[in-house]
Symmetry: C2
Subunit: 364 residues, 2 copies
């Protein structure tokens, strides 16, 4: 148990954006949302998952929609309160604490903003250990935990409470409602007992996010190479150093989809890298070979500062280092690969772990 | 109070299909649904609205979606039970009785099928006195009665409970969810106290439907012209006699939209009629003038039998009489015209009552 202050929030937001693999929102917006709520409503307590009683009701904070929309339509916080209150009423039970559904500059910060308002603790766990675009793409789904009763709420005052036969149906129906509701909504879904979160969640993820953010911050102060520090912290691999020469991005079916092209620099001179994304980065490949594929993490970092760049932040001419990070072992199971592997997103390739790809590459 | 038997169901289904103005479903399917439920679960009591206690909770039976989809995916009845049960649980109150949301071959029969299963009475009132394509298009909306809490349920087992800031938002969100759920769903929405139904609903509509159906049936037995009998019963006007020479129909955004073209016969020889529809008939016009426009009712009848033809039943070569019927005065108010008049559906014309159009016509 510890109180979360300004520095922790700033470090976590940056680290979370890196693990958000291009999605999960802008850390600057996320940081502001959390800090503003803490300033207005008071400090937030962060608990290790082991500190929470097994039978406590816990609910992740999450939003649904295209991050490109979220930039224009920031959540007020009221819609999350409404969703949580309605869920408590429906379940007839108080919510003990909240936690992030996924890693991301905004999505890891949402629980702090909500927890400050509700006066409940944040728990150090999430459902992905990274970010993914669809709501069934959580470790809870792999363990058979239902997304429903699922509530989505928009900033206008509309809410929908869904009960569905499985989490893929929750995704379908909630996604179409989200588009009608203006492109992004706040969610109260995947309510569970703390014992299930301890077993099924990715624990200590906020600590890792803070550590990543801190290593980037300290590298700047100590004038050392931030990329090296990051790679040490996350056990990652440098995949490509390059300059953005093309970015093709559109909001389609409620997702930000597209492809960014990087022209190689230094050791990658003469090569091009294509980075394909759907809210999050999915595939990094050169003309020759695939370097990293979902569910392993692909992050784009500013080559000077080491700061993570989200898909909506990729700009023509930016000099970047693209890194790969092995995903949590839960995603490398058969059901994990079926849920978030390359085939699910329409890429005809067998999942190969990034550490193997880095050694030998895969010819396309 | 009276028990409803086979003959009443058959007559009502036909009359309801006529008032359904091309939408509201096929009376043959509606009749079968109601009769099957009555046979299996027992007879249904029909109450005049005045027989229901003022503070009784009453909920219309309705479905949402394109009737073209409903032909392939008939509701099982289970989804309506689920929707009603969930609404009772949410409101913490038993539902006293049900009634049709609108007139239509299926939609007027749904309450009988559900009432038989639930063992509750049907009340002789609806929310349109005809059929309309969107869920805010009810007299209840004109009187400020909320559609929410609104539950939609599909045959697979998915449900959504909506709370929205107004009934137009209910329509938007429910419509998109309906498309995801397979194109048609059962609804439990517009719950109200009986005193509000008495004031705001179109009462005695089932009696009128039965009377229309009966006049068509007796005309056949007595070998008299059914069209004349119908026009007497509904105070309607014969607009056009013709043969279908073209039908352009597509399912778009969850609606059956299109236009049917009729070539004039007998007194209309040399003229063509275009009939524009969105689930229901909206505008009937010749090259010269508009003959009838929404919210007045436009029905297409088989010129031999007088039986109503739904938009999905219009076939090339069919010989038809198109009739116009003045709508309920509630629809001719300012808010009524704004909600369901020609402008709402994208037609740039001022609403003119059918009785005036028949006298003088409107030059386009």
């Amino acid at each position: 148990m510890r109180k979360i202050g300004k520095q922790e929030i700033e470090d976590m937001a940056i680290g979370a954006a890196l693990l958000g693999t291009g999605g999960g929102g802008d850390p600057y917006i996320g940081k502001l949302m959390a800090l503003q709520a803490i300033e207005e409503y008071g400090e937030v307590i962060l608990l290790d998952s082991e500190e929470v009683p097994d039978d406590a009701l816990v609910v992740p904070s999450s939003m649904m929609g295209a991050p490109t929309v979220m930039l224009e339509k920031a959540p007020s916080g009221e819609e999350a309160i409404r969703a949580f209150n309605q869920l408590e009423e429906y379940l007839g039970e108080k919510i003990y604490g909240t936690f992030p559904i996924e890693a991301g500059g905004v999505n890891s910060m949402l629980p702090f903003a909500l927890a400050a308002r509700l006066g409940i603790p944040v728990i150090d766990a999430d459902g992905m250990g990274r970010a993914f675009p669809e709501l069934q793409m959580v470790t809870f789904y792999l363990d058979g935990i239902s997304a429903t009763p699922a509530i989505i709420a928009d900033e206008k005052g509309n809410t929908a409470l869904l009960s569905t036969i499985d989490n893929v149906w929750t995704e379908r129906i909630a996604r179409s409602a989200t588009i009608q509701m203006g492109g992004s909504v706040m969610c109260a879904m995947y309510s569970m007992k703390a014992k299930d979160l301890k077993k099924s969640g990715i624990t200590n993820i906020l600590k890792l996010e803070e550590e990543i953010g801190k290593s980037i911050r300290l590298a700047k102060i100590n004038n050392v190479n931030p990329i090296e520090k990051i790679l040490e912290t996350v056990n990652g691999f440098e995949l490509f150093k390059g300059k953005v020469i093309d970015i093709d991005r559109k909001t389609e079916s409620g997702f930000a989809k597209g492809v960014a092209t990087f022209e190689g620099l230094e050791q990658n001179k003469g090569e091009n890298l294509k980075l394909r994304f759907q809210n999050e980065h999915l595939i990094a490949q050169t003309n020759e070979k695939v370097l990293c594929m979902t569910p392993d993490l692909i992050a784009v970092l500013d080559s000077e500062t080491g700061l993570p760049i989200t898909t909506e932040g990729i700009r023509y001419g930016s000099r970047c280092v693209v890194i790969g990070i092995p995903c949590h072992p839960k995603w490398r199971t058969e059901k994990g690969i079926a849920t978030v592997g390359p085939n699910y997103f329409g890429y005809d390739m067998a999942y190969t772990p990034v550490e193997e790809l880095v050694k030998k590459g895969v010819t396309q």
